[in-house]
């Protein structure tokens, strides 16, 4: 067995282990995945809607309305403006009233807006709902029961893509459902390391105790999660707390968003590197963080191999053209030749991964309460299955390029 085969087998085992782990947790916790603890009482909650000049008016309106329409007795809304004002600010004024306050800070960034809001929050719990997201009516009810456990510092929601139209949004639609599945299962391992902006709920006292949100962090929602985990607080997830959020429409917007996420992950990973392989941090330190990093290497290895194979095939084709001229039947013959699947161990593992992939897709649909609707959504599924891993590779490649450029030039990109 040569080095290449050994590496391939290593990657295969790694992928098997990580995909099966979540299936095992799934089976283990099947009964409690869609069940949230019923709240004994419903304390008042403040919902902060951070907005800035880049948000769309109709989405701000939808966001604020969804807060007011939440099926929850006592709720206040704070629209928290950050950065320089534009006509969006005046637009927000129209919501001011009995339950809605508009506050503002000149400091740009969502973290600044959230910290400003923290000064006004009087309730024991608060939510954050990004200005481009919409709460489902039952969301807050689903989340609040988790706070009965005093160790719980935050509860994350189940995010879905709002009205997917473009191909890129349709890929993300499926991706988000898979993330609902994964986030719920990760919560059983106490392994959640992001408290996303759309719809998460927080215990006000703990966030204040931790000093609020980090205004200098690219992904402040990840940084606060790490800080909570560091202090031994729990982060829970409700798979019933649906929040619909706008996803980037075009590829370049998506790449930009993911670059920010992944660079943010890298920065926080470096900042909290003492978590890694530290038993004090449980599964997060011992398994989830090391595996997340290993995944990136596996991704690069797999695509590197794929590209080198493709390059080899291409160069063979080009050599053939150069040496013997253009012969359609020879090209056709070579093409047919390339389709031959050899009966090796890879054929077996590919079959195993296809089965796991399809199973996980159905489970994701079930966990996120979606109907299968293959006829209606075949594009979503097909694009996700065929192109998603390649997209993730592009995101990481872009993020790594950015990290290297930042290291070399010491420049900081504005997001």
């Amino acid at each position: 067995m040569n080095l290449d085969t050994t590496l391939t087998l290593g990657v295969v085992f790694f992928m098997l282990y990580s995909s099966i782990l979540f299936l095992v947790i799934y089976v283990d916790r099947k009964g409690s995945i869609r069940k949230d603890p019923a709240p004994k009482n419903k304390p008042p909650v403040t919902i902060v809607v951070p907005v800035y000049q880049g948000d769309k008016k109709e989405l701000i309106e939808k966001a604020v309305r969804s807060c007011l329409e939440l099926d929850y007795p006592q709720k206040d809304v704070i629209i928290s403006w950050n950065g320089p004002r534009n006509d969006n600010y005046d637009f927000c004024k129209k919501f001011e009233g009995k339950c809605v306050n508009l506050i503002s800070t000149e400091k740009p960034g969502k973290a600044a807006g959230m910290n400003n809001a923290l000064r006004y929050i009087k309730t024991e719990f608060f939510c954050c709902l990004d200005g481009d997201s919409v709460f489902s009516k039952a969301a807050l009810n689903a989340m609040i029961g988790y706070f009965e456990n005093p160790k719980v510092s935050a509860v994350t929601s189940a995010m879905r893509v709002y009205n997917p139209k473009t191909l890129i949004q349709k890929v993300q639609w499926m991706e988000y459902l898979f993330a609902i599945y994964l986030r719920k299962l990760m919560s059983f391992l106490d392994g959640i390391y992001v408290v996303p902006g759309p719809g998460s709920a927080y215990r006000t006292k703990i966030v204040n105790e931790l000093g609020g949100f980090d205004e200098n962090n690219l992904t402040e929602d990840m940084e606060i999660a790490f800080r909570m985990q560091n202090k031994g607080y729990k982060i829970e997830n409700s798979a019933n707390a649906y929040v619909e959020t706008s996803a980037p429409e075009h590829l370049w917007q998506l790449i930009r968003q993911r670059m920010r996420w992944y660079v943010g992950f890298f920065d926080n990973f470096v900042k909290y590197r003492f978590f890694v392989l530290n038993p004090k941090y449980g599964s997060l330190g011992m398994y989830i963080l090391p595996m997340s990093v290993l995944w990136v290497f596996v991704l690069f290895y797999t695509f590197g191999k794929l590209f080198s194979n493709a390059a080899e095939g291409l160069s063979y084709g080009i050599r053939t053209l150069m040496l013997t001229g253009f012969n359609p039947d020879l090209i056709w013959m070579q093409f047919l030749e390339s389709l031959h699947v050899q009966p090796t161990f890879m054929a077996w593992f590919l079959a195993v991964f296809v089965v796991i992939g399809i199973t996980v897709m159905f489970l994701s649909l079930w966990v996120s309460g979606e109907k299968v609707a293959i006829k209606k959504r075949y594009v979503h599924y097909a694009v996700y299955f065929s192109a998603y891993s390649f997209l993730v590779f592009i995101f990481w490649a872009a993020a790594v390029t950015y990290l290297v450029a930042r290291k070399v030039t010491k420049a900081r990109l504005k997001w």
Binding site: T8, Y287, L323
Partner: protein, 223 residues
């Protein structure tokens, strides 16, 4: 729950993993068995050709040659198919290589016997096909890839009129070594077209002119 989940996962993953490895080994063995069978079929055909050849003394030469030429044609086809099967499996990622090496040695010896039979038939019956012995190496031979491309093209163009016998010189098969010595092969790639040695990489023009010098009626020759 945590520890038990990790242990359960490890057990399941290991079972699937080991099953995959066993499956890989089994599939590989099955493939090697099929290739061995095909090699042995080729051996039988060569034996048969030799037997038919022995009949030359008894049968009328025209009748015997009719049989022999079609046998030679069959031999060429079978060895071509086997060659591409062997090449495909050779380039695939495998866990166990050992079985394959012994298969390939056996296959290479059979190819040489095939070549001898085909040559004999051609001499006795004035067959109009051309034979090429192709000596190559998989180690440090960049030109071998290009030579392979040229020969694939020639085979594709001339179909039954040319028989190519690719001989892997890395295997250290004694008959290959003997052939190398007798034709004076020093470098790779080297071609022996109708018993003349062409050392080093031969371009399409060079191979064409060598083939046409031997038989000007071939499709690739300028008439």
């Amino acid at each position: 729950m945590e520890k038990s989940v990790y242990i359960k996962t490890a057990v399941i993953a290991l079972v699937i993993f080991i099953a995959g490895i066993m499956m890989g080994l089994w599939l590989g063995q099955a493939k090697v068995n099929v290739l061995e069978l095909t090699t042995s079929d080729l051996k039988d055909s060569v034996d048969n050709a030799e037997f038919q050849f022995a009949l030359m003394d008894i049968l009328k030469p025209e009748i015997a040659c009719n049989y022999l030429i079609s046998t030679a044609d069959e031999l060429g086809k079978t060895s071509d198919e086997l060659a591409s099967e062997v090449e495909r499996y050779e380039s695939a990622q495998k866990i166990a290589e050992s079985d394959f090496v012994s298969l390939k040695r056996d296959y290479t010896s059979t190819l040489i016997r095939d070549w001898v039979a085909v040559e004999k038939i051609k001499k006795a019956c004035e067959g109009d096909y051309v034979t090429i012995l192709y000596f190559y190496s998989n180690e440090n031979c960049e030109d071998c890839k290009d030579q392979g491309i040229i020969l694939t093209y020639i085979k594709d163009k001339l179909d039954g009129n040319v028989m190519i016998f690719p001989l892997d010189t890395d295997l250290d098969v004694s008959t290959v070594n003997a052939l190398e010595e007798s034709f004076g092969v020093q470098t790779y790639p080297s071609l022996v077209i109708e018993n003349s040695l062409y050392s080093g990489y031969q371009s399409l023009e060079e191979v064409t002119s060598a083939l046409c010098a031997y038989n000007n009626n071939l499709e690739i020759c300028e008439h």
